[in-house]
């Protein structure tokens, strides 16, 4: 049973790295719920595995189980010297919250089975993420042909490298490239997403709305399906939730720990997909506009904790591989003027066609929910995260106009791209979920209290 053995080693390595991360980054996780600590520990654990892998490669050694084990043991040892911070006690989950949470966990289990049912197979995995991960893992290096070989221009050499490096690091820990066992990373990303969403919503609105948010996210079967394993959409959705929560925390009450989380999550988003960089920059601009009107001293920390990590990531990638043109878009079309109108019409018509299909009914239901439900305790998380989400969707549509291919064909990818923002929208809508539960948690001690103070007096 190669799969069982490899999956067990992969899980053990990730657990060790996560434990080291949870302990080592403990001070940065202060004030978070237990679920959020789990989410952050796994995300940072993956980052530790990648760091160890890159350190082995940089040292000129061959990545494999022994060097990876030695690196992880060093991380564990180093983390033992960090003073342990105990998370605050949390009330036991029972009743409706427990039932909703159990249902969410059952849905997550279904995805875990689907994701690991066979070697990852989606086109994007074979052509982009898996190809790069396997090449890096088995050559024990980051060969320059990954970025400059004309024969693999279709593999998007301009994309960031978190996912290929996570696959390569995990396979090195296992000792072989087992792409069915590696699919286990995707349930791990889903756990990051659900735990971060549940924990952050619970802190603000109580356990029942948090469990409902987790259930709605976990039941997003159109997104959490076998096809999604091996691509970057699920990791990006998870990191966007970490980023959104860190952003709200930092604007609410700036702290060193909150700042660290904001910077790390900005970096994780940028390192996963270009759409992650875009969202971080849009959210940064939107929050800065609030800060400009209400609290100017927060602008510099905001910029340095969001835009700077994104810029640093870009600088490192440029140093590594030089500047690479994105072959999907033809920006010379900017000068085309009126010739852009039919292209814009083609994109608009494609979006409209999608919007009139029965599949769009849940979108209408979501919009209806957001309009009808009132946020518990006046919390206004949607005012902070909603506009950048809307702006991101608008940018997705706008860039299709500049597609180097048929703009309508490019617009066909919009639903998949938009889906990565749904869990983040649930985080933003968290305070509204208490409303539909009969205000069961409206009396929660923290309901509405911890939503951004910057936004308290702003109209939503």
């Amino acid at each position: 049973m190669t799969l069982l053995r490899d999956a067990a080693i992969l899980a053990a390595a990730l657990a060790a790295a996560s434990w080291a991360a949870g302990r080592g980054f403990g001070p940065s996780l202060s004030g978070l719920s237990r679920a959020e600590r789990v989410a952050w520990s796994i995300a940072l654990g993956l980052a530790i595995e990648i760091t160890v892998f890159l350190a082995v490669v940089a040292a000129g050694a061959r990545p494999g189980p022994l060097p990876m084990a030695a690196g992880l043991a060093t991380a564990l040892l180093a983390s033992a010297f960090v003073k342990r911070s105990r998370p605050p006690g949390e009330e036991r989950i029972r009743g409706l919250a427990a039932a909703l949470l159990a249902a969410a966990l059952a849905a997550a289990l279904l995805f875990a089975i689907a994701a690991t049912s066979e070697p990852m197979w989606s086109n994007d995995f074979l052509a982009i993420w898996g190809l790069k991960g396997k090449t890096i893992a088995l050559s024990g290096a980051l060969p320059s042909r990954l970025f400059h070989d004309p024969m693999t221009r279709w593999s998007h050499p301009e994309y960031p490298l978190f996912v290929p490096l996570a696959l390569a690091a995990s396979s090195s820990a296992v000792g072989s490239w087992n792409d069915q066992a590696l699919a286990l990373l995707y349930p791990a990303f889903q756990i990051i997403l659900l735990a971060a969403l549940y924990g952050a919503t619970k802190r603000r609105t109580g356990p029942a709305p948090a469990a409902l948010a987790a259930l709605v996210a976990a039941c997003f079967f159109g997104f959490f399906r076998a096809f999604g394993a091996g691509m970057a959409d699920i990791p990006l959705a998870a990191f966007l939730v970490l980023f959104g929560s860190a952003m709200i925390d930092f604007l609410d009450a700036p702290s060193r720990a909150g700042g660290a989380r904001l910077a790390i999550s900005s970096l994780l988003c940028a390192a996963t997909k270009q759409e992650g960089s875009l969202f971080v920059l849009l959210a940064c601009a939107w929050s800065a506009s609030f800060a400009l009107r209400r609290c100017r001293p927060r602008i510099v920390p905001l910029l340095s904790l969001t835009a700077v990590p994104v810029a640093l990531h870009e600088a490192v990638l440029t140093a590594l591989r030089g500047r690479i043109a994105d072959r999907d878009y033809d920006w010379t079309l900017v000068r085309a003027g009126a010739a852009l109108v039919p292209r814009a019409a083609a994109v608009a018509s494609s979006v409209l066609r999608e919007s009139l299909r029965p599949e769009a009914i849940p979108l209408a239901a979501l919009a209806g929910f957001l309009l009808l439900a009132r946020p518990a305790g006046g919390a206004r998380t949607l005012a902070l995260l909603g506009p950048p989400i809307a702006a991101q969707l608008a940018v997705y549509g706008a860039v299709c106009v500049f597609s180097a291919f048929d703009p309508a064909w490019q617009a066909g990818f919009l639903p998949r791209l938009a889906a990565t923002l749904f869990p983040l929208l649930l985080l933003a809508a968290g305070p509204r979920l208490a409303f539909v539960l009969g205000g069961a948690d409206a009396a929660h001690p923290e309901a509405g209290e911890s939503a951004s103070l910057l936004l308290k007096s702003s109209p939503e």
Binding site: E118, P362, G438
Partner: protein, 141 residues
Amino acid sequence: MRSFRFRQVAALVCLAVLLAFEIAEFRPAEFAGRWGALLTFGSMSPDEARLHGSSLAFDRRLGPFLAGVAAATEPRATVALPFASEAGSTETYVSDYVLAPRRIVDYSRLGEAGVAAARRDEALPAGAIEHVPFGRLIRRP
């Protein structure tokens, strides 16, 4: 109060519709197939699982051919394949992935390759032929 109650019920209905459509995306029959696949593929070696998996379902002969080429070449080799395409195609993606970390080129870059391989019905440059499942290859000086 009545207005509050109405909004609450309406919002709940919207959320229920959203959840119902999400759950409708779950296909029990497909999931049963996935569970069966997990048990089947789980008992195979990674290479064997790849050959029988969905990524090669479009051409069941391509997998053994690529596995044969992989077994006959060094991981550092550059392999020329007649169907490799600069523009990209399903066959190209699968070949590049299965043969990674080898570099794959098309026949227009034959000079960069140490090995040229072709399936049975495809042309192969002159040289001493070695047979692999569903194809053959030659080593270039």
